[in-house]
């Protein structure tokens, strides 16, 4: 059925109108053809090669930023802190994909896979509130809100237990941090998933974190390039 529908839609997509102009599909095809034959915007202005990120460029920007990658086979995106609303910091990419985080806990995603509407956190969550590893609680509770048929969306209530692993070092863009591996095992009604983190042994700051953001989304992997400070 998907193929029939897709065919019908492709036919529909070839439609033109004064309001929308040429259909998105036609635009894409036209863009491809013009680039091949050497005319049009794409051919006239080849894309600028991506600049290599350095610690100096991060520091001199004065911006808090993270690098996020969703799923396998995708390129990581750099997201820059845009807003701070009560400690919930929203990082956005040039493509207007955004992650909202409390500390280093992802509390919302937009334009990345299926949206994570929000994450309700509770006091003492060391992923959301900077806590030395020695002071981390054994477990925390979180409530995830995913798209669903109500303002609250689909509610996923889990309890997460922390398990510390080995210590070592981790380098992110020229800076090496002493870290400890943390495995976070979350269980709720009809749901179970695992997050993994590399936490700074001195402060508890997560430099790398791998987090669940929903049933229908791939895992998001985040490197903290420059942490947000108020």
């Amino acid at each position: 059925m998907r193929f029939i529908v897709a065919t019908l839609f492709l036919v529909g997509l070839t439609a033109c109108s004064s309001g929308q102009g040429v259909s998105p599909l036609t635009k894409a095809i036209f863009s491809k053809v013009t680039s091949v034959v050497g005319i049009g915007d794409e051919a006239a202005a080849p894309a600028e090669a991506p600049r290599r990120m350095t610690r100096e460029s991060i520091t001199s920007s004065g911006l808090a930023m993270v690098r996020a990658k969703v799923g396998e086979g995708t390129d990581p995106q750099t997201l820059i802190a845009q807003t701070d609303n009560g400690g919930f910091v929203t990082y956005a990419s040039q493509l207007r994909q955004s992650l909202t985080m409390r500390g280093t806990l992802v509390t919302a995603t937009r334009g990345i896979e299926r949206d994570l509407l929000s994450t309700q956190i509770f006091p003492g969550d060391p992923i959301a509130f900077l806590t030395k590893p020695s002071d981390w609680p054994k477990s925390v509770r979180r409530i995830y809100h995913l798209p669903g048929n109500s303002p609250e969306g689909q509610v996923v209530d889990v309890t997460c237990n922390f398990l510390f692993g080995e210590t070592g070092e981790h380098t992110i863009v020229e800076v090496t941090y002493p870290v400890i591996q943390v495995l976070e095992s979350c269980q709720g009604k009809n749901v179970g998933f695992e997050n993994a983190h590399l936490a700074d042994t001195r402060t508890g700051q997560l430099w790398r974190t791998r987090q669940w953001i929903g049933f229908q989304s791939a895992i998001v992997l985040i490197d903290v390039l420059e942490p947000y400070t108020e």
Binding site: R2, V5, A15, N85, T90, Q97, R114, L117, I121, S150
Partner: protein, 689 residues
């Protein structure tokens, strides 16, 4: 066989308990009948909620086209159109439309099998009429076993005396569209059963069944004669939603099936792919909240120019606005976003970024076809306390009010789009597919449509449509009305349309001109539908004359007045909607239509309808009344960007002019239903998306 023993056998058949672990849900795959089953026999399996599939089955002398819909988690419905060679009394092929229902009595749990009860072909000619009670149990290794007892056609082979009721079953073939309730679960009963094995090879499964169907009708017609009651099959699903099947039936026949399926809740593309909303920040506590800006027309115009541009990128156009020191109201049209809550949320974000700090309230009024429907009132301080916070969805819903929009903004310092009169056009290819036409089971056509609209004001427009048939099933010699001729362009509409509001919750529409391909005249409609209410009432009155098929602007002698009252109800239960239309239809017949559907929040709609009028059986053609199914699929389900376009497939018996209302003009209820408080509640999570 004594009653006790028969009952024990039936219990044994429906309560099959096998060794092995329990699974949460009994697997289901389509049978040659299109419903969840083995090869021709049913199982107790249910598809995922909302699953919709089309199955095309080819057996010797028989073809079946079926649409199956998982109406509710425990209720499955099937509409089928079959062609059986030589079945009619004159030896010609019989085109037969049939309906099935199956209800899951008990889910599979632990050692207990799933148990379902079903009616096959309960609202048709009864060629396939049969009833059954069936149990299915999932075992280890991808094996699902099924056993059941059937009546009617499903009790026609290897039968025994009915343990539950009379052993005599009326054999009279019913006219299409009549309930066969006096036949249900009567007559001989028989056992059936089989298994389905999902092999370790991904997508490959095998089936075997013991059939309780004697295929007496097909045997008599010379198309299908079973040798043994056993059948075997192999099925392969190379991709999600596509399944091929090949079967060796009853020891001597080969059959094939193709099933295409999809689920509204499982979109082809991520529904949230695309750009995220603009990040917004709260106003600083010591920010300038001087309201003087509101008195400066130049400032107001600059603000609105920026807001209009920003919202244009979100697929939202601003019709008009009223900017005051503490309250701003925008009247917007959402052209792109499937969920209006998303358009409202993105508008609120733009307003939060653009509006001076003195503004405390955002009034966002949704406009559809030029008419203001509902106003969403957002408290800016509350919004700022919620943005990016956990559970912002519920908090924002609780702090937001939704009311019926006033008919107009008034005349005070209105900012309005200076775009009228506006001309727009479109060129769209279309592929209308009609299933279950009595004369031709499946027809398709490829058309090219030219549309133009001259918008004189937000609520007044002239629109026209011309379509040209390119190729397809319908041709000059097709059996049908004169209006189905395809050799020349068809002027399917040229009319003046006016939409307006009589009061906050009362909508009106009037159209005059060539309203549709077959009729021209005046069509008026009025609708009462408060946004707080989950039901509404409408009245549609039209005076029309039949158009001359040989003259674009000419009319024939036939004229009529139609008047149809409608009650609309959004039940709030599993997205189920209901509609009752009663009155005088365009054929001059009196009657009513009952429509029950399921309208998913992502735009999928599946609805079935039945129309009963005082037109005679002979006048109506196939069936004593019109009945059918409509499936409407939003393009957004398959595309990675927002669009409100959709494709609709209708499967109906078709009653000609009987039971039909004048088409061409959109129904007011369709314009306003998605703005109700109930639908807003269900989709409000998208406010922050």
């Amino acid at each position: 066989m004594g009653m006790t023993n028969k009952f024990a056998m039936i219990l044994a058949a429906v309560s099959i308990v096998f060794a092995g672990p329990a699974f949460a849900q009994t697997a289901a795959s389509s049978s040659l009948y299109g419903s969840a089953g083995l090869i021709d026999m049913p199982t107790a399996g249910m598809f995922e909620d909302g699953e919709t599939s089309w199955t095309f089955g080819v057996l010797p002398g028989t073809t079946r086209g079926s649409m199956n819909f998982q109406i509710l988690p425990k209720l499955e419905g099937t509409v089928r159109y079959s062609t059986i060679d030589g079945l009619d009394t004159d030896g010609s092929s019989s085109f037969d439309m049939s309906f099935d229902l199956k209800y899951l009595l008990m889910s599979e749990s632990g050692w207990r099998p799933a148990i379902a009860i079903g009616l096959r072909d309960f609202l048709g000619h009864g060629v396939y009429a049969g009833e059954y009670l069936v149990a299915s149990k999932t075992l280890i290794g991808g094996m699902t076993l099924t056993g059941g007892v059937g009546w009617g056609r499903l009790g026609s082979s290897g039968g025994f005396d009915n343990p539950f009721g009379p052993s005599n079953r009326p054999t009279t073939r019913l006219a299409g569209g009549q309930f066969g309730a006096n036949q249900w679960f009567r007559g001989d009963a028989a056992f059936f059963g089989g298994f389905e094995w999902e092999t370790p090879v991904e997508g490959l499964s095998m089936k075997a069944e013991y059939s309780s169907d004697s295929y007496a009708e097909e045997s008599a017609a010379g198309g299908f004669t079973p040798s043994v009651p056993y059948s075997f099959g192999v099925e392969y699903a190379p991709w999600d939603g596509v399944r091929f099947g090949a079967y060796y039936l009853n020891g001597k026949n080969i059959a094939f099936a193709l099933t295409l399926g999809g689920n509204p809740n499982d979109p082809v593309t991520h529904p949230d792919a695309g750009i995220g909303p603009a990040p917004t920040m709260i106003r600083p506590a010591n920010g300038d909240r001087n309201p003087a800006w509101a008195g400066n027309e130049q400032v107001r115009n600059q603000i609105m120019k920026a807001v209009s541009q920003a919202l244009g990128a979100e697929g939202v156009s601003v019709q008009s606005a009223l900017l005051r020191p503490k309250v701003v109201e925008l009247r917007i049209s959402n052209h792109r976003n499937v969920l209006h809550a998303k358009a409202i949320g993105r508008t609120a974000r733009i307003l939060a970024l653009a509006m001076p700090h003195s503004v405390e309230k955002f009034r966002i009024t949704m406009v559809e076809n030029g008419v203001a429907v509902s106003t969403v009132i957002i408290d800016r301080s509350a919004y700022e306390s919620q943005v990016d916070r956990p559970d912002a969805g519920a908090a924002s819903w609780n702090s937001t009010r939704i009311v019926d929009a006033a008919p107009s903004l008034g005349t005070e310092k209105i900012w309005a789009q200076d775009k009228y009169p506006a001309f727009s056009w479109s060129i769209n290819p279309s592929v209308p597919i009609t299933f279950f036409n009595p004369n031709q089971p499946v027809t398709y056509d490829v058309l090219i449509n030219f549309g133009a609209r001259w918008q004189l004001s937000p609520t007044l427009s002239v629109s026209g449509n011309i379509s040209q048939h390119l190729f397809g099933s319908t041709d000059e010699n097709a059996v049908g009305s004169e209006f189905d001729k395809t050799s020349r362009p068809v002027l399917s509409r040229l009319a003046l349309d006016k939409s307006f509001k009589l009061a906050d919750a009362v909508y009106a529409r009037a159209s005059i001109g060539l309203l549709e391909k077959q009729y021209g005249g005046i069509d008026t409609e009025i609708l009462w539908k408060p946004v707080q209410s989950n039901w509404g009432v409408g009245l549609d009155v039209a005076y029309v004359k039949e158009r001359d098929p040989d003259n674009y602007f000419g009319f024939g002698p036939f004229e009529t007045i139609t008047g149809i009252g409608s009650v609309y109800w959004d039940t709030g239960y599993n997205d189920i909607t209901a509609q009752l239309d009663v009155g005088r239809f365009v054929g001059g017949d009196w009657g009513g239509t009952v429509t029950v559907g399921r309208r998913f929040n992502n735009g999928w709609e599946v609805e079935g309808y039945v129309t009963l009028t005082d037109a005679s059986y002979a006048e109506y053609g196939e069936g004593a009344f019109d009945k059918g199914v409509r499936v409407s699929i939003p393009l957004r389900w398959t595309l990675p960007f927002e669009t409100r376009s959709r494709t609709t497939v209708t499967l109906s018996t078709g009653g000609g002019q009987f039971g039909r209302r004048v088409g061409g003009s959109g129904r007011l209820y369709s314009d306003v239903r998605d703005y109700s408080r109930l639908r807003m509640y269900e989709t409000w999570g998208a406010f922050w998306q």
